[in-house]
Amino acid sequence: MANIQQEISSFLPEATFVEGTILEVSVPDAKWHDLALYLHDKLHFDYLVSIVGMDWGETLGCVYYFTCTADNSQISVKVETADRENPLLHSVTDLWKSAYLYEREVYDFFGIRFINHPDMRRLFLRNDWVGYPLRKDYDASPEVNPIRLEHEAVDDVTHAIVETPDGKLEERTNTIFAPEEFVVNIGPQHPATHGVLRLRTSLEGEIVKKIDVYCGYVHRGIEKLCESLTYPQTLHFADRLDYLSAQQNRHAVCLCIEDALQLEIPARAQYVRTIMDELMRISSHLLFYATFCMDLGATTAFFYGFRDREKILDIFEETCGARMTFNYYTIGGLMADIHPDFQRKVKEFCAYLPGMLKDYHTLFTGNVIAQQRMKGVGLLSREDAISYGIAGPSGRASGWACDVRKNHPYAMYDKVEFKEIVRTEGDVFARYMVRMDEILESIHIIEQLIDNIPEGDYALKMKPIIKLPEGRYFRQVEASRGPIGIFIESHGDKNPYRLKINSACLPLVGGLDPMCRGGKIADLIAIGGSLDYVIPDMDR
């Protein structure tokens, strides 16, 4: 790390550093794009994990998190601007394509406009929203933003600020869809978007020309809500993000807070958390199988997937008391001990599922039509996967070994033996097979742990009021569809100054357009299904 610090300071003497688990570099905006270029090309930080918009009172700015995919080292960069009336920062969309959606999100919540970003529209909120809700001086009174009863105008043009070669800034408008294009709204109410995602799709016959993604139909302002809640209260939102990886999401929030408090979690809780995470992953992948087959028209497979997922939900229900939003992990351990039947039932399930998986493959995977629909469709190269930030099973299908469980182990993952499933084809079939194989790996992990759960406390005794020491904390956990990152900036209070959830699903839809271009409508559905996004996770 010191090495990187020296390299950066020799390249950019203005840069200042804060050391921590992740090195933080502060640069003025004027030099930011140069540093970004240096980070990307010379230091190979090719994966932009997250852009966290911030309002520090006097200044607005962003904290960027980068990972180098070669050695998994992490770095963060802090850029700020003192101009609150017309905040401008330089865009990095030309280097990391995932920045396209992240910067729009920052613009939406903080009003920071990005120079050279081709498309400065709001991402989650309506175009006629007044104010920027995550700024500390935001006026939340209902008079400012009443419930609007009329439809939002369709936007076929967008605005951009472009820096001309001589350094001047120019406002420009870019066309999204020309008037003569045949634009179809796929969503927000559509059986194959798995929620309320809206894809404005330009078609030529059956062929997809361009997709414009609209998010925010289930935006609940969770990050804003968290700023006024105590830390134990913020946990409850985690289950409601990606409800199919509720346990892992909550694990991420717990880990981030426990890291900040430097807590040592009882071994029993570690074991149970790992088992629960993997059960959740299996249940999510079973649901993926069900809905993906449904998207391709294989309705019977849908029921097979759901039938077996029910068994996991039954196990969850016994221990957690819920089938959907579990509220099971707490800061320092678990909410309750496992049910006496837990171990027996999990073992039964682990013995039962592999046989069923064989059935699944006979019914669907080997089918000629299914193979033709999946193979060679929606190709995503490793470089694109990294640039668009498409991690998780979808990234691993493109040959990118991006499993957080391997790269930055947490809980019991460094003590169990398991394979990271990586395929190189990068098509729909690879994404499908990665998930099906991960089910088996998860069973393998559970089988190693389930008989060895140590006796002892299942939770630490925590004080009712938890205050985090001042600082910025960022922690990732491998959820079912990719890494979920939790960023907390604490100013020493009992509630977070800023809590940002870096969703695994938002980059997935960012990559939808390049993958679908030139394909058929049916391919769009297959690709969407194979990416397996969950809308509440990206909208938050």
């Binding site: 059986p191 059956e206 089918n367 629909r373 058929k520 049916a522 559905i525």
Partner: protein, 358 residues
């Protein structure tokens, strides 16, 4: 074997004895129409129930089980519901075509339905180009689907309609050619003639390999023709919500729905007529007593039994296979089925010319 023409002739003579010829004809038309409509509706109800039960068992479910014993009145309840539902009127549609489309679809399937030989002597239209007439009228249906999609003023329905047009026009070829193969074999286009020709064994047994190939092609093309899975692209639920009938409600939607199920019956009926002998019992040349026993089973049972077995196979397709993509669908027809069909037809002609069949 009971010949239903005894009954029909008796009614005919009875009517003619009490009124002039045109009056008798008029009453017969009405009687036949009512009987057909009734059968049409009852069959549709049966098929809806049948498919729901079958797919439920495929999918580890029970299916309808609340209305009546084993849920047998479920589709009656559904029909009642659909009859009393509001017909929602839409803005920006071509009202005339929009309202016309479901009737075109249902009329086409009614006309084709009328051609089927339900039993010995139990047939409405029977003339020397019967099978040709059947193919001709059944292809009117695509017009209704195209109009429905076009007039709805909706992009989804338009895509669905265009898909349907491309699909049905393509697969009409396969159906036509495989029917032609069997017509060559039978040597007649009269439906009664085709059935009678199978007195000494069904065509699928006597027709050598070309008959089997034609049967398989017919099953695939027939499934495509009825817009059922894996060829349900025009109404691909996960892509186009409901395809060409997205905007329809109430009984207009019901017509599309009915026609879909009845087309399933018609396709399986024609398959049983061409390949499995229609209402003809299973006869094996030389086994006189066996043939005699088979004759005791009424012809109506034979026909419906065969049709339902074939429908079951088509339903089985739907609930097993994923959906094809439009280019794969067209490739299957134009690059594989059509050439295969032409060769098959040629082989059949050779077999008939040289008398190589049984």
């Amino acid at each position: 074997m009971f010949d239903f023409s005894i009954v029909t002739h008796w009614i005919d003579n009875l009517l003619r004895s009490v009124m002039p010829g045109w009056g008798a004809l008029l009453i017969e038309f009405v009687l036949v129409g009512v009987a057909l409509l009734l059968l049409y509706a009852v069959l549709a109800l049966f098929y809806i129930y049948f498919e729901r039960k079958v797919c439920a068992f495929f999918q580890c479910r029970l299916g309808p089980n609340r209305v009546g014993p084993y849920g047998i009145f479920q589709s009656v309840a559904d029909m009642f519901k659909i009859l009393i539902k509001e017909l929602i009127s839409l803005n920006h549609i071509d009202k005339f075509l929009f309202n016309l489309a479901p009737y075109l679809v249902i009329v086409a399937s009614m006309l084709a339905f009328g051609c089927l030989p339900f039993g010995k002597g139990l047939q409405v239209i029977d003339f020397n180009i019967g099978i040709f007439f059947l193919i001709a009228v059944s292809s009117i249906g695509v017009l209704g689907i195209l109009l429905a999609g076009w007039s709805s003023h909706n992009k989804y329905t338009l895509i669905g309609a265009i898909r349907s047009g491309a699909q049905m026009v393509s697969y009409e070829l396969s159906i036509g050619l495989s029917v032609l193969t069997m017509v060559v074999f039978a040597g007649t286009m009269s439906i009664t003639g085709i059935v009678e020709a199978q007195n000494n064994g069904w065509f699928i047994f006597t027709g050598h390999i070309p008959a089997i190939v034609a049967f398989l092609i017919y099953l695939v093309a027939g499934t495509a023709e009825t817009n059922r899975g894996p060829f349900d692209l025009p109404e691909a639920e996960s892509e186009l919500t409901a395809g060409y009938h997205t905007e329809y409600s109430g009984i207009h939607f019901g017509f599309f729905y009915l026609a879909e199920y009845l087309n399933l019956f018609i396709v399986s009926g024609v398959a049983s007529l061409l390949f499995l002998g229609g209402w003809m019992p299973l006869h094996i040349p030389g086994w006189e007593s066996f043939n005699h026993v088979m004759d005791y089973i009424p012809s109506v049972v034979w026909f419906f039994g065969k049709a339902i077995v074939i429908s079951f196979i088509i339903i089985w397709f739907k609930w097993t296979f994923p959906r094809l993509r439009i280019d794969q669908l067209l490739r299957l027809e134009w690059k594989y089925l059509l050439p295969l069909n032409l060769i098959n037809l040629f082989v059949m002609v050779l077999i008939v010319i040289y008398g190589l069949h049984f």
